[in-house]
Every structure is written in structure tokens, then in C-alpha cells.
């Protein structure tokens, strides 16, 4: 037994009556090491509307750490050892230099928690050609379409997947007339684009579309301003808000001219993970995460957890740490990953997007899980969300 394992057994022996060595005779072979890196950059706290939600510095990282722990519990029985190296680039640091110096030629799997531009920059590096990058941060549909890279897998649902999930729910509720409010940021516009695409796809009608502008006019107060802003001659069923940064979205609910529900980036939101989610064994991972992190699991944590677990699952199944074999298995038909959301997760072979259910959550209650029942698909209902194979503009130079 390698010495690391011996040390581990001694520790575990102190806790348990049964030695870990009990399992050893079955897999006496030497351990195969699989190394995964986690790359992110320091962040400053963005301006916030409220101090209710403290700024979380290590979003993503704890998820990756939990994933490694789970991989290694499996590895104890299969003779594989998974290692995680965390690289946090300082605020003024250079991502590309860091990648080339610390990760290139050393890691075949890199979990990337960076912006869309930074991710593309990394993916195009010569040193990244033999690396599989796991994007745990971006929501951009462009990265999954015309800008797609064959060495990148995307763990979080794209904006189109989120908008489709919301649209399915609104269709089920027969909220067919939408008032779309768009924030004046790039992300707000991208989310609004996804909402417009979903409206078209599901035959919904955007009766009003308005841009929310930030001004410093002292006469504007939220109480009066939202009412005036939402006053319209065209009746609508629901106010759809596109404000990913959370600059004004929280102000809308209860202040609209007509009493209408708020949905989108605030109110009822579409997300990969939420603290209100407890079905399908989710309670177990919520508990395990909270015990480790002392906080709730955020979307990036969930994505990083899944990325590391995907490597673990594919490495265990193929009995290999080799990237090309692992990647082939991951993109193959038999790959199935548990995401605690009621359906097996897999990767879309045409754009590297993780195929997954999308949770529709209110602040304190899980309202629905998309795909909503009744939205059918010849292959898997999960592909009713986002860009399906025939619509995809991703052409991987394979």
C-alpha cells in the first residue's frame, strides 16, 4: 500500500473499528493518479441592492473540493487517486501566463471559473489543445454556438435553456402575454435575447418591451417609478425581467401598476441549483455541502462538483485517466451522471453543453422543475431546453 494510503488508514483506524485495509485485498494494484486543476481569479464584491446575501468569495471551489472527496471515496475501492490543485489568479494577474506556467503539460482536466472572454482565450492557447476545460461560470449561448470550442464542456445551463424553462412554465400557466423589462447591461440584453427566442419558440407574445435605465433623477423613487414604468395600455399576464446583476429587478415585485407576477432573473428564477431543492436525494448533497462549506451550495459550486464528478465517473468506468478516452466516454451514449435533479445528466455531443433539468425557484419555495410535463421530445425531454441539435450553430473542428 502506498504511504499516503497507510497514513490515511491509520487515521481512519483511530475513528473506526474496522481497518480500511479490509477493502484492500480486492484491489491491491498500485493507485492510478488523476489530476484535476481548478482555475479562477480573485473578485471584488460587486455593488449590491441589499446586504441580505453576503458576497461569497469561494463560489465554485468548495463544490470542486466536495467532488474530489466523492471521487476519492470511489477511488479507494477502484485503485484511483484523484487530486485537485487550486489556482487563484490575483486581481491584477494574467490568466494566460498562469495557465502556461502552472497548468500546461501538467493537467489534462481544468475546471475553469472565469468569464466568457477569458475562457475563449484559454481554449485557444496551443497548450490547451490537449486539455479538457470545464466551464463552470458562463451562461452565454454564443459560447455554445458560433464561438464553441471542442476542448470546452459547459456545466451550467445556458441562458436559452433557462428562458425555455421559464417559457414552458408560463405556457403551462397560460401566461401568454409578457411585459419584458431589460436592464441596460450586456448580460441583461443577452438574457432578454434568450427570452425573445423562447417566446417565439413557444408561441408566446411579448406585448411590451422596455429598457430600465439608471438615472440620478431625484424625483424617481422605486414606489412611484415602478408603477409608472409598468403602466401600459396593453394588458399583460406576467412581468419578465432581464437583470442578471440584480441592479433593479428586486424592486419590481409588489410595485407594478397592475398586480402581476415577476419572473426571469428575479421573482421566479431559472437555475441549475437552489437551496429550496430537496427532491431526488438533493437533501443529502445539500447537507454534505453545508457541513463542509458553512453556507448553501451556489450554482457555480454545483457546476464544479459535477465537473469533477464527471471526470471521476468517466475515469472509473474506463479504468483510465487518459483524456481522450475519458472525453470519448463522457460524450458517449452510456455516460450518465447523477445531479440530484431527477434525470440522468449527460453532455450534448453537438456543443458540449451539460444536458440537465432546470429548477424554477421562488426565494423560499421550489415551484417547478423543467422540462415541464407535457413538453415532449423524440430523444429526451431534456433537449426541449436550449439549442437542440438541428438548431445548433456549433461546428466542432474535430
Amino acid at each position: 500500500m502506498p504511504s499516503i494510503n497507510l497514513a490515511l488508514s491509520i487515521i481512519i483506524n483511530l475513528i473506526l473499528i474496522m481497518p480500511l485495509a479490509g477493502a484492500a485485498p480486492v484491489y491491491a494494484k498500485a493507485k492510478q493518479a488523476i489530476n484535476i486543476a481548478y482555475l479562477t481569479q480573485e473578485q471584488t464584491a460587486p455593488p449590491q441592492l441589499s446586504n441580505l446575501d453576503p458576497f461569497i468569495k469561494n463560489k465554485g471551489l468548495i463544490g470542486a473540493e466536495l467532488g474530489i472527496a466523492d471521487d476519492n471515496t470511489t477511488g479507494e475501492f477502484t485503485g484511483q487517486q484523484f487530486n485537485l490543485k487550486t489556482v487563484i489568479v490575483p486581481l491584477d494577474g494574467n490568466i494566460v501566463d498562469t495557465f502556461n506556467q502552472e497548468l500546461a503539460n501538467k493537467f489534462q482536466y481544468v475546471v475553469v471559473n472565469l468569464t466568457a472572454d477569458q475562457l475563449n482565450q484559454l481554449a485557444d492557447l496551443p497548450a490547451a489543445k490537449s486539455v479538457l476545460l470545464f466551464d463552470v461560470a458562463t451562461l452565454d449561448d454564443a459560447l455554445r454556438n458560433e464561438q464553441c470550442r471542442s476542448n470546452v464542456l459547459h456545466l451550467l445551463p445556458s441562458r436559452a435553456m433557462r428562458a425555455d424553462a421559464l417559457a414552458q412554465y408560463m405556457m403551462k400557466k397560460r401566461w401568454t402575454k409578457w411585459f419584458l423589462v431589460i436592464g441596460a447591461t450586456q448580460e441583461g440584453r443577452l438574457f432578454a435575447d434568450a427570452i425573445k427566442r423562447a417566446a417565439k419558440r413557444f408561441g408566446m407574445k411579448i406585448v411590451v418591451e422596455k429598457l430600465w435605465e439608471h438615472t440620478y433623477d431625484a424625483r424617481r423613487t422605486t414606489q412611484s417609478d415602478v408603477a409608472v414604468f409598468t403602466q401600459t395600455d396593453d394588458d399583460y399576464d406576467v412581468l419578465v425581467v432581464a437583470d442578471e446583476q440584480g441592479e433593479f429587478g428586486e424592486y419590481l415585485d409588489y410595485r407594478t401598476w397592475n398586480p402581476r407576477p415577476v419572473i426571469g432573473t428575479q421573482g421566479l428564477i431559472a437555475t441549475a441549483w437552489h437551496k429550496t431543492h430537496e427532491q431526488w436525494g438533493a437533501v443529502q448533497i445539500q447537507n454534505r455541502f453545508k457541513e463542509k462549506a458553512g453556507r448553501w451550495m451556489e450554482e457555480q459550486d454545483y457546476a464544479a462538483y459535477l465537473a469533477v464528478r464527471a471526470v471521476g465517473e468517466a475515469a472509473t468506468r474506463t479504468g483510465s485517466g487518459d483524456m481522450s478516452r475519458v472525453k470519448d466516454y463522457m460524450l458517449g451514449a452510456t455516460f450518465a451522471l447523477n445531479g440530484y435533479t431527477g434525470a440522468p445528466l449527460s453532455f450534448r455531443s453537438w456543443d458540449g453543453q451539460l444536458r440537465q433539468p432546470v429548477l424554477l425557484a421562488a426565494p423560499r419555495s421550489l415551484v417547478a422543475v423543467a422540462p415541464i410535463e407535457g413538453f415532449l421530445h423524440p430523444k429526451t425531454e431534456l433537449d426541449t431546453l436550449g439549442y437542440d441539435q438541428p438548431e445548433s450553430q456549433c461546428q466542432w473542428a474535430k
Partner: protein, 322 residues
């Protein structure tokens, strides 16, 4: 003539009803914190009794005198008198007990501790935990072979079945199985272990002498997409003629020929069918349907669903007293 026939059927029917053993079906109700007591022959819910917070796993002692019920949010397994429904004791199960298994003699109880990746071994008579066995992540399905040789623990996130020697409580073999194994069940002769995989939608048959998978059955239902087929509970009849697999959100039970491993039939039951139990004479099968709040009764001679009985919110586990 026709009248005669009807008369005869009626009489036969009455005789049949009279001859049927007055068995009782017990169902844990996860969200009602209660136990449903059902007369399956009359097709009636007799009563519901409070048993503790979030009851899930349930088993009956070999002498049929006591029920063991995992009350997850009380962090214990309660011992309940099967006649008076009074609590007569508690077992130290560890945190959040869900599934557990009794050995054939009824003196050892094995609990899956999902959050801690452990199996706790409990001496039932002494009401004491005697050992904790480290297993894979999120152990769920657990069973003891009828010959008492093997304790099996299936780790959902590690995708592994652990073969534990009941004499030493040590793992002696591991079998890598399809993703998210849920339930494990031995054939009566202890020679085969049947394992369901929730994520792959498969049933795997393992040979107990080699611990290898000898057959993987992909469960399919026409008109239902693959990701809705999430096999959970599995039971096999004593003669190994047929096995039955609950398909979760596919709302069906698959009937498997236990010799050829072919799917003979799928039976529509309630929503999110979860756990299964035979009647003592193995003429009926009872299913708990998690989200339609009822149980279904399957007549095994005719292979058809004869009745569903509303029992309460989130029926989870089922046990039958002759």
C-alpha cells in the same frame, strides 16, 4: 344458465375472500409522520397512527411481533408493537436513517447512513451499535442474503455494490455497477443478487459466487422516454419465476422472467412507484406510489393491477404481516 354462472362466481368469490389470510399491510408516510395500516383484502385503509418524524424504511421482525421504522428526522429506528402500535424501544441508527435490513434471524439490523458513508451494525436485543463499516458515498440499498452469508450495501454516488461478510463485518468484494444503484435484493436461494440502477434505467443480475454481473436488463416502456425510467425497488418470488421492478416516475412495475431475464410485461400503477412487497402467500404484490399518495395491489396470478388504496402523503416503505 347465465344466472347460475353468476351465482356460482359469487359463491366462489365469497369462499375465496373467506379463505384469504387476513394479512395487514403497513405503509410509512414520509410527509404525514405516520404509519398507514391497510387491510388489502377488504381494500381499506384501517387507520393511520403517528410514529415519528419522516418515517421511511420499515421491516417486520421474523416473529411478526414488532415493526422497525426508520424515523429519519428523529435520527432513530423505532421499535413499534405490531398490534398496539405503541413504541417499545429505539435503536441507535446514527443520523438520518432511511434504509436498513434485518438479518434472517432478526438479531442484527444494518442501517445505511447516507450522509456519513457508513453502514451501522446494530445488535437488536441489546439495542446497541456494535460496528460501523466504511462504504462508498451515499449508501442506500441494503440487504442480507437469506443464507446470512452476505450483507450488501449499494453506494449511490460511488456506483458500487459492497459485499460484506456478515461474520467479520468486513468488505471482501466490490462490484462496479450502473449509475446510482438504488435497491438490492437476493433470490431465495441466495445465489443471485438483483440490483437496480436509477440513472441508467437498468436491472443488473449478479452471481453471488463470483460477484460479477451476469446480465444487464435495459428497462424500456414504449411511449415513455428513457430518462423517466428510473428503477427503484426490486423483489423476486421464492421459486424464482418472476422478479418485479418499480420504475419510479415511469409509474409502472416491470415484470421480469427470472429465468430468461426478459421483460414480460409492464403494469401501470400510481405515480413515482417506489417500494414493493409480496403478500405472504406471494399471490399479490403491494407497491408504494410516492406522489399519488396511494398503494397499488397487483394480483400476480392474472398479472394485473386490481386496486389502488389512498393511504396518505408520500407513502414510502411497505411491510406485510400475515
Amino acid at each position: 344458465m347465465i344466472m347460475n354462472k353468476i351465482g356460482l362466481t359469487l359463491i366462489l368469490g365469497l369462499v375465496c375472500v373467506g379463505a384469504v389470510h387476513a394479512e395487514t399491510v403497513f405503509v410509512t408516510l414520509e410527509k404525514d409522520n405516520a404509519l398507514a395500516v391497510v387491510d388489502p383484502v377488504a381494500g381499506k385503509l384501517i387507520k393511520t397512527v403517528p410514529v415519528g418524524q419522516r418515517p421511511r424504511g420499515i421491516a417486520i421482525s421474523p416473529d411478526n411481533k414488532f415493526l422497525y421504522i426508520a424515523t429519519s428526522d428523529d435520527n432513530t429506528i423505532k421499535i413499534i408493537d405490531a398490534v398496539t402500535f405503541k413504541e417499545v424501544g429505539k435503536l441507535p441508527s446514527g443520523d438520518d436513517p432511511e434504509t436498513f435490513a434485518l438479518n434472517p434471524a432478526g438479531d442484527r439490523l444494518y442501517v445505511s447512513n447516507e450522509d456519513d458513508s457508513l453502514v451501522t451494525v446494530i445488535d437488536v436485543a441489546k439495542k446497541k451499535a456494535v460496528k460501523q463499516i466504511k462504504v462508498g458515498v451515499e449508501p442506500e440499498g441494503i440487504t442480507v442474503s437469506p443464507d446470512n452469508r452476505w450483507l450488501i450495501s449499494a453506494a449511490e454516488t460511488t456506483n458500487m455494490v459492497h459485499w460484506i461478510d456478515t461474520k467479520t463485518n468486513a468488505i471482501v468484494a466490490n462490484t462496479l455497477v450502473d449509475p446510482r444503484p438504488r435497491a438490492v435484493s437476493f433470490t431465495a436461494d441466495s445465489r443471485q443478487l438483483w440490483v437496480t440502477s436509477e440513472m441508467a434505467g437498468t436491472l443488473m443480475i449478479l452471481d453471488a459466487s463470483t460477484q460479477q454481473i451476469i446480465k444487464t436488463v435495459k428497462l424500456e416502456v414504449s411511449g415513455v422516454t428513457a430518462d423517466k425510467i428510473q428503477p427503484v425497488g426490486v423483489v423476486i418470488d421464492k421459486e424464482r419465476r418472476r422478479g418485479y421492478v418499480a420504475l419510479g416516475p415511469a409509474n409502472r412495475v416491470a415484470v421480469i422472467n427470472a429465468q430468461t431475464f426478459e421483460v414480460e410485461k409492464v403494469l401501470l400503477v400510481g405515480q413515482r412507484v417506489w417500494n414493493l412487497a409480496f403478500s405472504p402467500d406471494q399471490k399479490r404484490l403491494y407497491t408504494t406510489n410516492g406522489t399519488s399518495n396511494d398503494i397499488s395491489i397487483i394480483d400476480l396470478d392474472s398479472q394485473s393491477v386490481t386496486k389502488s388504496i389512498g393511504v396518505g402523503t408520500y407513502p414510502w416503505g411497505v411491510a406485510v404481516k400475515p
